[in-house]
Assembly symmetry: C2
Homo-oligomer: 164 residues x 2
């Protein structure tokens, strides 16, 4: 069952809400959800700084929660929505857990593994291919990230000016 | 500080011990350790079937434990030893957590991301490169995997013959 345009936008809005949760606690604003049968069964937002765990990306959390909910590592009928193009770790996790389609927001020029730097999701040499649909609410996702990094640079500048 | 030949073999033996733990409980025998300053600070073995979590690979567990021990997502002075060539998820996790060198055992023709299918570890377009040294105790690692899959096929054959 393929999602409608309205469903895709609706679930990406939930992923953007997850990204906002990360932003609110000073984490890079990236959010993700896993959807099964029209229901969100996994959510996550970037928590790397709070947990000091290098694997704590939004997609990983959403996948792990979805596996728990389904009592299965096979998420074959599940789609994943994430506000930023997945990195190799998260794209690999989607291949490993047999995610059906990954809908993603803004491209990531630094680590994008859904076509920008490499394209792991649809590489036919792996034992599973994940459908890849990019650019969903790209402007909203990019704006949130730009605002976040601008804020960090402003803080760094202020700290430098005050001699700290 | 680069590891000596003896140290490399010694730590890969610990990773093989981890793989044996997986084999003992019916999981695909893959093991990994993270080493800092000559000490094992993270261990893991494949637990995908027991946990039904698609992200539960040996390397991920070893990395997560090492992050906890060091209270940091940055494992810059740490090396990772794994009995099978890492998949894209695990290679990506090593890039994300800034692992220094990955020593790996047998190549993986189905998912190898350290040169066999793709080479993520040393790709200069990512913001960190992980040194990659393959083939450490390759025969031992391969033999363990071959024995495991032969056992599974024998069980399947026996079940078929008995009509189950």
């Amino acid at each position: 069952m393929t999602a409608t345009h309205e469903e895709i936008e609706g679930f990406m809005k939930v992923a953007l809400d997850e990204a906002a949760k990360a932003e609110a606690i000073g984490e890079v604003p990236i959010g993700a959800v896993v959807v099964y049968n029209g229901q969100v069964i996994g959510r996550g937002h970037n928590m790397r700084e709070h947990t000091q765990d290098g694997t704590h990306h939004a997609e990983m959390m959403a996948i792990r929660e979805a596996c728990m909910v389904r009592h299965s590592w096979r998420l074959e009928d599940c789609d994943l929505y994430v506000t930023l193009e997945p990195c190799p770790m998260c794209a690999g996790a989607m291949i490993n857990s047999r995610v059906r389609i990954c809908y993603w927001g803004a491209p990531d020029p630094k680590a994008g593994a859904a076509g920008t730097l490499v394209n792991l999701l649809t590489d036919s040499r792996f034992n599973h291919q994940v459908g890849s649909v990019g650019g969903i609410f790209q402007a909203e996702s990019s704006a949130m990230l730009t605002r976040f990094f601008r804020g960090i640079r402003a803080k760094q500048k202020a700290a430098k000016a005050s001699g700290n």
